[in-house]
Symmetry: C2
């Protein structure tokens, strides 16, 4: 049992803050929230005076293998970036690392990414990654005690042949069987996948009841290409293959048409907002107010660390609000409350997870953020605003997932962060010259 | 004497990085940059292996008194924000604090702001503040060993009567005489000042050779109001009063016309880019590529802590680049190099200060940033990009201004940061309820 004592500010959800309460956890759930709860025998008690306790953030879309590529190249559009930065080194990687080291390497890049995310209060993340010993990624998330939803990013028209596709589909099915709770189905993008691949993945997702996530209408070029080649907009095309349901999330959605927005609303689809990545790649600005008006669930994400380049949900929230205000010349376009909801309940809804709010009966996924820093000292005036506009990765002291610690007093509990980081960069620096030579 | 030894990466300017060199400071200047310099007798030596050494950032526009108002209200346009959030409590302040406490209070809010800025590598800042015991502000900057350019923000049509104007003009002249190096002339905004006030300030600035800064064309409404009431665009109007020269900076410039851009270029005026503030208030997006094309000097700023709400030049740089890429749907619109130049040479140019680059003969204004953090570990691939997109306030270890420390091993040297912070918030919390009641 775990009890948070003297919580100065308990953020129930984006609209409700309680003051001076305690919170009791039994097993992986919050069982009681009230002032002055007695500390049960044997319970661990954590003092939360002068702290805010926040629902855990969901980083709803990332690609942690891109930790390999941070800082390699900027100022490219998505297509140019994929061609010049992403694909050559990633393709080369398959040959550069001895097979017996692969599981370790994928473990390491996932662990390095998780350390960064924990410091910004993330309790769950959704990751599309390359077909590269994915078991290492699941292992890192499990050891870190973070809810890591991980899928193999399929792009058979881009990266593989027919034999490769058969091998990848078999691997997806193996992973779905091995990690039934957190393995997800992730075709990269409609234009990058054959219809055979998409149909097979749609069937697998149905069979295993898995969550599905696909890049949709990220750039105007992709949106137009789908219409031209498949005769349908991306979301309509995916719907024709049976993808759309509340288990489906459309990443980016920058160029969704009016009809696609209606369709997303009808099917209960989530749209994942990636403001910094969309901005950096010049992809455009996701039409958040229109999505809100249509009643669509919206989650928030950093995207991969090579197009952001940080995994900081606080910065993502404020950028997400400010970008809309700027794009629409309207300071009310998207508020702090809106983006806080995307990062919490929006993410939990996408994962069909009984979390995202701190209420009795909900999963005990939360972070603890001391408000002593002068940057945060106005917490009591409008706490959600202060957190959205002033907090940063590193301000979080503790992260608990299902009532168990993942970050405690700023220290990652699941593994030795500095050892993991050192090992990752040792392997990487062996490859760095080759990667840089390839990404020209 | 001071010598930086074994500098892993010395950022000379936005386009040049040297590796494995030493840097020798004598007095307030950099006198030698070369590998393996001997340590002179009695010199302090600082090990900079695994560190980047950066030219000091100039925060080219802020209002530190707004530390009083952080987190009070969001989602308002500039006009609504001034009317509802800014003016009532600020006006009330004059009566709330006993006169003998005023100098101390203004000292404290300046000190609190300086602590935040130092952590993001700021060595100089330009502050427009209220007429409230400004000596305290100059004192805080001097004690902190930061170049604090401070002006009294005049807005006589908005805030005072004729008698108040006479008193304020006398105060400006007193400050110009008392602080000849760093006192600046700052009419708030053409629409908020009488022509009598502007003419008097223009004359004072000429007489004392002072820098001048004015809010120009921040919102479409202000730009239109000036044309309607004064028969000229803001910059043309200010030019007709003799303001425009290389000593003049126009803050925001979001709605500059083509003719105003030509005029700014002709007169050698600086435009101050405030991307986050402009975004948050929905003011629009400053036309940076057009300003660049016209050859205008551009500096970068956070604006005040109530419309940002952080004083973090790293975040401001990346937001400044990303906002342009997003607004123009062009990933090349503004690069990491561009915004780094705005934060360094652009700022130094605005201040007519022989700094902004780390070269022999220049002022020794720099920060030291360790690259050990995994977020920054790719520093060697493209250091400027890594710093712009990945670094954050708090990553800076040391800040030196004119060869003397202002931040050393993360500790502010000029005063006791925690004592100053505690005292500021104690006074503030006495006022907070009243301020909140007034800003409704």
């Amino acid at each position: 049992m775990l009890i948070l004592k003297n919580i100065a500010h308990l953020i129930v959800d984006s609209k409700t803050v309680l003051h001076s309460v305690d919170l009791l956890v039994e097993g992986d759930r919050i069982v009681k929230i009230a002032p002055n709860l007695p500390v049960p025998d044997g319970a661990e008690a954590i003092d939360c005076s002068r702290c805010a306790v926040l629902p855990g953030f969901v980083n709803a879309h990332t690609h942690l293998y891109q930790t390999l590529l941070v800082g390699q190249r900027d100022d490219l559009s998505l297509a140019g970036w994929c061609d010049q930065v992403l694909t050559p080194p990633i393709t080369a990687l398959y040959g550069k690392i001895p097979p017996k080291e692969r599981e370790r390497f994928s473990y390491l890049w996932t662990a390095v990414g998780i350390c960064q995310m924990l410091r910004s209060g993330v309790t769950a993340f959704f990751n599309m990654d390359i077909n590269y010993a994915q078991d290492g990624m699941f292992r890192a998330a499990k050891e870190a005690n973070v809810r890591g939803y991980i899928g193999l990013e399929l792009a058979d028209l881009f990266l593989s042949d027919e034999k490769g596709l058969r091998r990848d589909l078999a691997e997806v099915e193996r992973l779905l069987k091995t990690y039934p709770e957190t393995c997800v189905v992730t075709p990269s993008e409609p234009n990058l996948c054959s219809e055979a691949a998409l149909s097979a993945l749609s069937a697998l997702a149905k069979q295993y009841g898995a969550l599905i996530q696909v890049h949709v209408d990220e750039t105007a070029r992709e949106a137009a290409q789908c219409v031209s080649e498949r005769g349908k907009t991306e979301l309509e095309y995916l719907d024709s293959l049976g993808f759309l349901s509340p288990r489906f999330s459309a990443v980016h959605g920058v160029h969704l048409t009016k009809r696609e927005i209606e369709l997303a609303a009808q099917r209960g689809v989530t749209v994942v907002y990636n403001p910094k990545s969309n901005a950096k790649l010049g992809s455009g600005v996701c039409p958040i107010p229109a999505l809100n008006q249509a009643g669509i669930n919206i989650s928030l994400a950093t995207d991969g660390p090579a197009s952001n380049d940080r995994l900081d949900m606080f910065e993502e929230m404020r950028f997400g609000a400010m970008l809309q205000k700027a794009a629409l010349s309207n300071p009310k376009a998207v508020t702090a409350t809106d983006v806080f909801a995307m990062a919490t309940t929006g993410g939990a809804n996408m994962l069909l997870l009984d979390a995202g709010e701190l209420k009795e009966g909900k999963l005990a996924d939360f972070s603890i953020l001391p408000l002593d820093n002068p940057r945060l000292a106005f917490g009591t005036a409008d706490l959600i605003s202060t957190i959205v506009y002033c907090a940063e990765s590193g301000d979080v002291r503790d992260v608990y997932v299902g009532g168990k610690p993942a970050l405690k007093n700023g220290v990652v509990t699941g593994f030795d962060e500095s050892a993991v980081t050192k090992e990752f960069y040792e392997i990487l620096h062996r490859l760095l010259d080759e990667i840089q030579a390839l990404s020209k």
